[in-house]
C-alpha cells in the first residue's frame, strides 16, 4: 500500500513537471519607448516595414505624423530582459519627404538565439491625406480613418482595416483580414488568408489561393474573384441587385431559391444571371471549395 502511494506521488510530481504543464511565472518587462513627430502630406507618405509587431494606425486632422514605438523584452530574469531589449533595432529615415520606419532584430554575435520573448508595438496617428504603405510579418494590424491610398504586404498578420475612403491594395499570406467601409478600389492577392469584406463601395478585384472569403452588406461596382481552393460566401439583404457569373470545380454552388437553377457538369458547377444588364456584376471562379449566395 505504501509503495502504491509512493508511486502515485511520483506520478503526480512527474505530471506537474512535464513540459505539457505550463506554469505561470513572473516575467520582467523592459520596454524602450521611442516617440517622434514626422511631417506628412498627400504628396509624400509613410512606409512601415515591421516584423513581430502590433501596429495601430489612425487618421487625424493634424499635418504631421505622431509616432510612438515600443520595443519590448520579456523574461523571468530582469537582467536577461534588459540585455535582450537591445537586440531590437529600428530605423527612422526620410527621403524626398517620404518617411520610412523599420524594426529588425540584431544581436551582438549574430548567431545565438534569444532566451526571452521580444516584440514591437507601433502607434501612429497620421494626417487623413497621408498615403500609408505597410510591410509586416507576424503580428496584428489596425488601420482606420484615412482619406488616402493604403497598401499592405502582410504575412501571418491578423488585420482590421476600417473606414478608408480611397484605394486599398493587399498582398497577404497566412493571415486573417477584415475590411469595413472601403470607398475606393479594393485589390487583393491572398494566399491561405481568411478575408471578410463589409460595406465596400468601389470595384473589387481579388486573387486567392486557399482560404475563405466572406462578403457582407456590399454595394460594390464590380467584383472579380479568381480563387483556387478558396471558399466564397456572399451575404446580402438584396442579393438580386447584382448579376452573377459563378463557377467552381469539385464543389457546390448555393444560391437563393428565387435565383433559379444551377448548372451542374461532370466536375464543375456554374451559375449565370445577367439580367438586367445594368446591375453590378459579381464574377467568382474557384475550385475544390463551394460558393454560396445567401440572403441576410
Amino acid at each position: 500500500m505504501k509503495n502504491l502511494s509512493l508511486l502515485i506521488l511520483i506520478a503526480l510530481w512527474a505530471g506537474f513537471n512535464s513540459t505539457t504543464m505550463k506554469a505561470q511565472k513572473t516575467l520582467h518587462i523592459v520596454s524602450k519607448e521611442v516617440k517622434k513627430k514626422l511631417s506628412c502630406n498627400a504628396g509624400s507618405g509613410i512606409s512601415v516595414d515591421a516584423e513581430k509587431s502590433n501596429i495601430e494606425i489612425k487618421g487625424w486632422d493634424k499635418n504631421y505624423v505622431d509616432l510612438k514605438m515600443e520595443l519590448i523584452s520579456k523574461h523571468p530574469k530582469k537582467e536577461v530582459a534588459e540585455q535582450e531589449v537591445n537586440y531590437l533595432k529600428y530605423d527612422i529615415s526620410e527621403e524626398r519627404g517620404h518617411h520610412s520606419i523599420r524594426n529588425y532584430f540584431q544581436n551582438d554575435d549574430g548567431f545565438s538565439t534569444v532566451k526571452g520573448s521580444l516584440s514591437v508595438k507601433y502607434f501612429l496617428k497620421v494626417p487623413y491625406s497621408c498615403p500609408v504603405d505597410i510591410i509586416q510579418s507576424y503580428g496584428s494590424l489596425s488601420v482606420q480613418d484615412l482619406d488616402s491610398d493604403f497598401q499592405g504586404n502582410l504575412k501571418f498578420v491578423s488585420g482590421k482595416i476600417k473606414n478608408l475612403s480611397r484605394n486599398v491594395t493587399l498582398d497577404t499570406k497566412f493571415g486573417g483580414v477584415e475590411c469595413i467601409d472601403i470607398g475606393g478600389v479594393f485589390k487583393a492577392k491572398l494566399r491561405k488568408t481568411n478575408l471578410t469584406l463589409s460595406r465596400l463601395n468601389g470595384q473589387v478585384d481579388i486573387e486567392s489561393r486557399y482560404g475563405r472569403i466572406d462578403i457582407e452588406d456590399t454595394n460594390m461596382d464590380m467584383l472579380s474573384l479568381n480563387g483556387d481552393k478558396t471558399k466564397v460566401s456572399l451575404f446580402s439583404n438584396q442579393p438580386e441587385k447584382f448579376n452573377y457569373h459563378l463557377s467552381t470545380t469539385f464543389a457546390d454552388i448555393k444560391v437563393p431559391d428565387s435565383f433559379g437553377d444551377v448548372w451542374e457538369g461532370k466536375d464543375s458547377v456554374h451559375y449565370k444571371n445577367i439580367n438586367p444588364a445594368n446591375n453590378a456584376l459579381i464574377r467568382i471562379n474557384t475550385s475544390y471549395q463551394p460558393i454560396s449566395i445567401q440572403v441576410k
Binding site: Q24, L27, S31, K32, K52, G139, F156
Partner: protein, 170 residues
C-alpha cells in the same frame, strides 16, 4: 573806464593762444560727444543683429527638433504574470515529405500531373515559410503569436502532405 577794460580783455582773449586752445578743446569735446553717440548707435545695431540670429537660430532648432530630430526615448520596467515559452513546445516531422520524395524518384505518373505538381509547389513554399519562421523564433523567442503561426504552418503542411500521399497511394 570799466567798459574799456572789458573790451580790452575780450580782444586779448580772442587774439591769445589761450583762446585757440580753448576753442580746440571745445571742438574735441563736441566731436567726442558725437563719436560717443555713434559708438552707442553701433552697439545697439549689433545687439539687434545678435538677437535676430539667436531668435532665428532658436526657431530653426525648434523646427529641426520638431520635424526631424525630436526623438524621445524612455525605458520603463514592469512585471507581469505569464508563460515563459520554452523550445521543447514544438515538435515537427518530415516523414511525409521524405516518403513523397522517395516515391516520386521512382517516376510515378501521378507525380507528373498538374494537380500533384501544384501541391508540390505549395509544399515547397510552405517548407520555405517554416524555415523563415524558425529564424523568427530564434530571433524573437517563443511568443504565443509565433508558436500559433508555427502550428498553422505545420498543420497546413501536413494537410498538403496527406493529400499528396493519398494521390500516390490511390
Amino acid at each position: 573806464m570799466e567798459k574799456n577794460f572789458d573790451n580790452h580783455l575780450k580782444e586779448k582773449i580772442h587774439t591769445s593762444d589761450c583762446s585757440k586752445i580753448y576753442t580746440k578743446k571745445l571742438k574735441d569735446e563736441i566731436w567726442e560727444s558725437v563719436d560717443g553717440k555713434n559708438t552707442n548707435y553701433n552697439t545697439n545695431f549689433f545687439i539687434r543683429i545678435a538677437a535676430s540670429i539667436l531668435l532665428i537660430g532658436g526657431i530653426s532648432i525648434f523646427l529641426f527638433r520638431f520635424y526631424s530630430e525630436g526623438e524621445a526615448i524612455q525605458i520603463t520596467y514592469s512585471t507581469e504574470i505569464g508563460i515563459d515559452f520554452q523550445k521543447e513546445d514544438l515538435i515537427t516531422g518530415d516523414e511525409g515529405t521524405t516518403f513523397i520524395k522517395s516515391r516520386c524518384k521512382q517516376e510515378l505518373s501521378i507525380c507528373k500531373t498538374p494537380e500533384f505538381r501544384s501541391l508540390l509547389h505549395e509544399l515547397e513554399v510552405t517548407e520555405q515559410e517554416i524555415e523563415e519562421l524558425d529564424t523568427m523564433i530564434n530571433n524573437y523567442g517563443y511568443g504565443p503569436e509565433l508558436v500559433k503561426s508555427k502550428i498553422d504552418l505545420e498543420n497546413f503542411k501536413s494537410e498538403i502532405t496527406q493529400k499528396m500521399i493519398l494521390m500516390i497511394l490511390s
